[in-house]
Subunit: 253 residues, 2 copies
Amino acid sequence: MQPILFYDIPFQVVGETWSPNTWRTRYSLNYKNLPYTTIWVEYPDIAALYTETLRIPPSTTLKSGKPYYSLPVIHDPNTGETVSDSMRIAEYLDKTYPSSGAGPIIPAGTRVLQQTFQVAYDHISTPMVPIIIPRIPAVLNPRSREYFLRTREVSFGKPLAEVLPKGEEHTAKWAETKAAFAKIDGWIQASGGPFMMGDIVSLADFVVAGEMHWVRIALGADSDEWKEWAEWNDGRWAKLLANLEKYEGQDNL
Amino acid sequence: MQPILFYDIPFQVVGETWSPNTWRTRYSLNYKNLPYTTIWVEYPDIAALYTETLRIPPSTTLKSGKPYYSLPVIHDPNTGETVSDSMRIAEYLDKTYPSSGAGPIIPAGTRVLQQTFQVAYDHISTPMVPIIIPRIPAVLNPRSREYFLRTREVSFGKPLAEVLPKGEEHTAKWAETKAAFAKIDGWIQASGGPFMMGDIVSLADFVVAGEMHWVRIALGADSDEWKEWAEWNDGRWAKLLANLEKYEGQDNL
């Protein structure tokens, strides 16, 4: 088969992924053992990718009615289909290539539960948002950095530099984040682990592992903060990355 | 086997269940086709049930450090075990009676996903809280009503009568609630339904169906509001109740 085109957002480390959302699809493509080629698209070029290059509808429409253009997107030259959104991409890959790779990304019957896992994860992990997001611009390339700073200032209602908590407020947010992950860890312990579905890898793991890459990049792999985080919950989150390392590959050709 | 004792909270309709939390366990017991007897406990008597009658630890501990005593609780005279919390009860029943009934309440590998489903459901359905909760005292028996009004005034920070939105504010909350259920409906549609896991019934369905009983009781089964709700999403929520009606039975002896 011809390689699938996978649209990802670059950062200062050439050829590596930082976005938690595109990580979900990179893991998915590798887990399904499908050949693909990454095409790197800086933030300000994503809208034109949708409207001019690929001519596909927006990934979603915001409450304001504005179209929202986001990555990941894949284009599959074998079928001619173009799909946005990591959940829809996972469904497409499972449906189009049912017998490829290590198993389905969304195991049978879990479509709704995988979706609600993401809602719950986002809700529970909210305390880490102000700790992580403001550190992202520093690792982006200049055009994406300018775009990210400008658009996030609008969504947060203030400059990102003011979103990052300082001093005691930072300590409190850090503790809340630690408690949030301890809660998720408790559930995984109750089910046996190591993955969200026990022995079975699924999209839910790619969601959390993608976030752990993003956290490590934002905090810095050599930082004391990441070193501490990696030891939380008996090393649960660092081990998740290690367990999925075989699905991290770049351009599975 | 001897009947399991199932502790439930009564209301003005004798012998029926109104609490969304105890509905989860009533459905679970019937789904597993296990014999049980309901013991009705008014709200102000729940703490003593834990500390004096059953001598079990609180179902959870609040952030303030205070113990929290809640129903459902079951006591299984066949094993001597007493279990609180609908999720732990479901796990206990699946583990202790693996081959009983129509299938596991928590299908293999979905323990974490079932838990996060509840987190997501609670989060998404938040807009209905002020519409439904303030209408509950009217259906409770006097002792539970007084207890409910007093404790909820503390948790909401104002009397329940002031929590219920009026006029345009009510219209807005109603519309938000409708949008929240449309979101969940969209996910079920994408997966095929009719249940959260497709053809397979699981705890997630008992969670939502339990809430639908509670909504119907709070709004009134003959009210225009419930009639409207029952028609949302092509009748999704009324149909869910109908599909699970065979697991509604009282005291499966």
